[in-house]
Symmetry: C2
Subunit: 557 residues, 2 copies
Amino acid sequence: MAQALFLETHRQTLEAATRANRDRGFWTPYVEAPSRKAYGETAAEDGEAAFKAHLNGLFEIPGHPAAGGPLGKEESPFGLALGVTYPSTSPAALIDAAQAAMPAWAAATPDVRATTCLEILERLNKRSFEIGHAVMHTTGQAFMMAFQAGGPHAQDRGLEAVAMAHEIQSQTPASALWEKPQGKADPLRLEKTFRIIPRGVSLMIGCSTFPCWNGYPGLFASLATGNPVIVKPHPGAILPLAITVRVAREVLTEAGFDPNLILLAVDEPGAETTKALVTDPAIRIIDYTGSGTFGQWVRGHAMTPLVFTEEAGINPVVITGTDDLKGLCRNLAFSLALYSGQMCTAPQNIFLPREDIATDQGSKSADEIAEAIAVALDKLLGDPERAAGVCGAIQSPATLTRIADAAKLGAVLRPSIPIAGMDGARSATPLLVTVAAADEAAYLTERFGPIAFIIVCDSVEDALDRAVRSTAAKGAITALVHGTDPAVLTQAEDAFATTGTALSLNLTGGVFVNQSAAFSDYHVSGANPSGNACLTDAAYVASRFRVAMNRRPASAA
Amino acid sequence: MAQALFLETHRQTLEAATRANRDRGFWTPYVEAPSRKAYGETAAEDGEAAFKAHLNGLFEIPGHPAAGGPLGKEESPFGLALGVTYPSTSPAALIDAAQAAMPAWAAATPDVRATTCLEILERLNKRSFEIGHAVMHTTGQAFMMAFQAGGPHAQDRGLEAVAMAHEIQSQTPASALWEKPQGKADPLRLEKTFRIIPRGVSLMIGCSTFPCWNGYPGLFASLATGNPVIVKPHPGAILPLAITVRVAREVLTEAGFDPNLILLAVDEPGAETTKALVTDPAIRIIDYTGSGTFGQWVRGHAMTPLVFTEEAGINPVVITGTDDLKGLCRNLAFSLALYSGQMCTAPQNIFLPREDIATDQGSKSADEIAEAIAVALDKLLGDPERAAGVCGAIQSPATLTRIADAAKLGAVLRPSIPIAGMDGARSATPLLVTVAAADEAAYLTERFGPIAFIIVCDSVEDALDRAVRSTAAKGAITALVHGTDPAVLTQAEDAFATTGTALSLNLTGGVFVNQSAAFSDYHVSGANPSGNACLTDAAYVASRFRVAMNRRPASAA
């Protein structure tokens, strides 16, 4: 029986993931390199072929409710018209199907649910090339990044959530004997049983830039705790999640469960159904990744109080000193250029004191360091092929407008330009603009995309203070501080901790501030406006279920 | 140093409480019997004297903000005018003081916070007699119950919350080394540190019937996770929480923390300040116990989404058969009479099939069983002294009105009468009224107090169905089912589990449906309208804090 097989196959991985969540060192069962050794000799070609087979046709999902006509208008930022359509139906029909599917899944043990989820993740892992191409041609990520962020790294984050959900559920035993001494009389004895009860239908609202990486945690946290999940992809990035839903349904079916435990809610730009789902009282859990504007709407209009969001922030960098100026510039240039800054973790605002920045190349001014960053960007992106590999394409045309608008806000230190040779694609390298520290209207607005500001401050104190205050007021997921004075670094640690901003210090090598590693880095703290939830802490899973109990007199000992 | 002493003194108790939370068998470090052996030869007299010393005077709380005049108009349901007044000040001043107190407490380790809380609980335990009298003369509980529910049992629930909060916080290590292999190159290595950051000022809104038992979980869950707590007692039951606050402040001061981590917000009937506190954006966590009407207001108007409530439900009993009719009646009579039904766990609606109820005394009709319950009540309460000890007094005059109104809803099977000899006290024994199953307006309204309905149904199926549907629609904290058919019991278990109602089966001995034992029984599930939170599961503590992290390149291995 498949359930038993999955239990047997995945138990050790589940235990290892649970330990990893607690140790928070490096760990992963999924190979991040798109290697033939790990994925098979023909995996790359097979995956690309599988992706191409989806194009210009209906994406069939056996057994999926489909009362409406096929929908879907995805277009690749690289210029390809995907032509994929998907089964569609009404929110009410999706909710009905999800509710009907729930009881048997709710009655399964946490072990069965977790290992079924791990089987889904393993099958997704095997399709990482196919998913990588799907992510690439919806988000605009270059292939290597799309493979990793849509494949193994997303699977890591899904597994992290499954393991956390399993651990918290497992804190409650299935049964207990309660035996209360009564002096010389016989003790009072009760047999008690406890069962995990899910909350109800869960809605996962996907984003356009990291549909899998940001989507899997909520999806798997809800599924692992017994809740059916309606997956509502961004209309521009459906395919990666459609593949995910289909794979999950296959595994659920094999395990003897109703595949409608996971459903796809497809819509098209201009005719979104998200609001209808959010405001349906049958939706009991919502996971949302996207803009702060719509995030606020979701939080304000959801019928359920259980809304987990990753919204938007303005991530600061503060440079107060370094013993590796070259490494600093190289590292920061890469962080600004990676996926053309279209990451919720990418820096936007670079705060520097005006003068006397101690470096291994002597004392520097803010202008000199800003210039060095611009030079590092030019060097990183000088070769068009390499630039395309780092920057990828621009997901939304609105980002190009934002770049043009941002260039008018100050002195352009480095212009954003299209990448040579990326014909048919939207592309743009990072724009670097110097703005006055007093011009908060310019830099205290999130400007999503390859847009960064150099903000020259009066002092180290002033730079840190502006950066920290911005995280409290506007939210931030990451912060990066460079310094050589231990007192400054400690001050930065304390200050950014109060706003729950994940702080990286002195990154000059092969780790970048935009990277967040599952099982080790908490992604978003929930403590500032960049989101109200954290991938993946106990709070992210603990309220997705309740415990029902019963008790009866125990038979005599 | 006191912090180290508390750590040393309470570490084992903390570990044992953590294990108990997971095992869910019987466990407690606090003796529930008001015995001289446990509490000291003169504890009873000393406690009563300490209570009396509070009367007719100002309850001083050293260092407490007190810009306003002393307030307080508590009156004992047993007839005593307490004459105690308390320091008062504005919500804004309380919030300022709480915020100023927070940083050092937030920076303390979870171990230090937990063991400081355990020291508070231990000192409260030593004052259980004093608190018992204070609870008695505010809630109307008879002394034995007031001692237990306001003393050791409340301390149990506080400890349960501290242990759960400590365990969930401890799942995140203080630091980690992240080491990612890079093939033949040196691994990437990062040192990471994690710190627990509290959410901000917490508000605990107490109730009039179980100020300590229902108040300690939220109070200690917030305190243990680093949040200052403003304790807002019900204006009718201030003293037990005022004593609690003063004891907690003494311990916090000894441990080197600002005593304003816990503050008392006192008001008087008709001039309540609760709404001003609830709607203040600085209040980041709210714990509320009380009516569903005000609970709905709190949930709807709080500026924070973190609102944990125990509101109200209508607890059903379903009698489908028994092999101990005498035990059933004796047990149920006690459950109806205990504290005159003024418990959130007391039964209100007794559903029975019309005929053919199999018992050890032969097949019975609903009428016969109802009559037997009435007789058992008369027997239990026949001796006035015993009746006073079981029923205590009626906390609110509104309850007497409710009893009078309820008597008009159907055929009175047993009238509610005052208890002889309780001069000057409000007292009332249980009212038993038969209403038609179709008359849902009568019995599907919560009627708090010693009011129970006999509802004769068409069949076992009908009786169970009505009871379960009522828990889903109106909420219920407990349910009690009697039956001899295993299929019926299984059906009841499944059905009540779906609505998250704690179900007791076949209680005929010394355990009563109204009792909820810390470390074993989850109190309120959060899965039906009787409350949105559970004492104490992981969800109750996990979102009271966030984790902030930082990372930096590790020095070479």
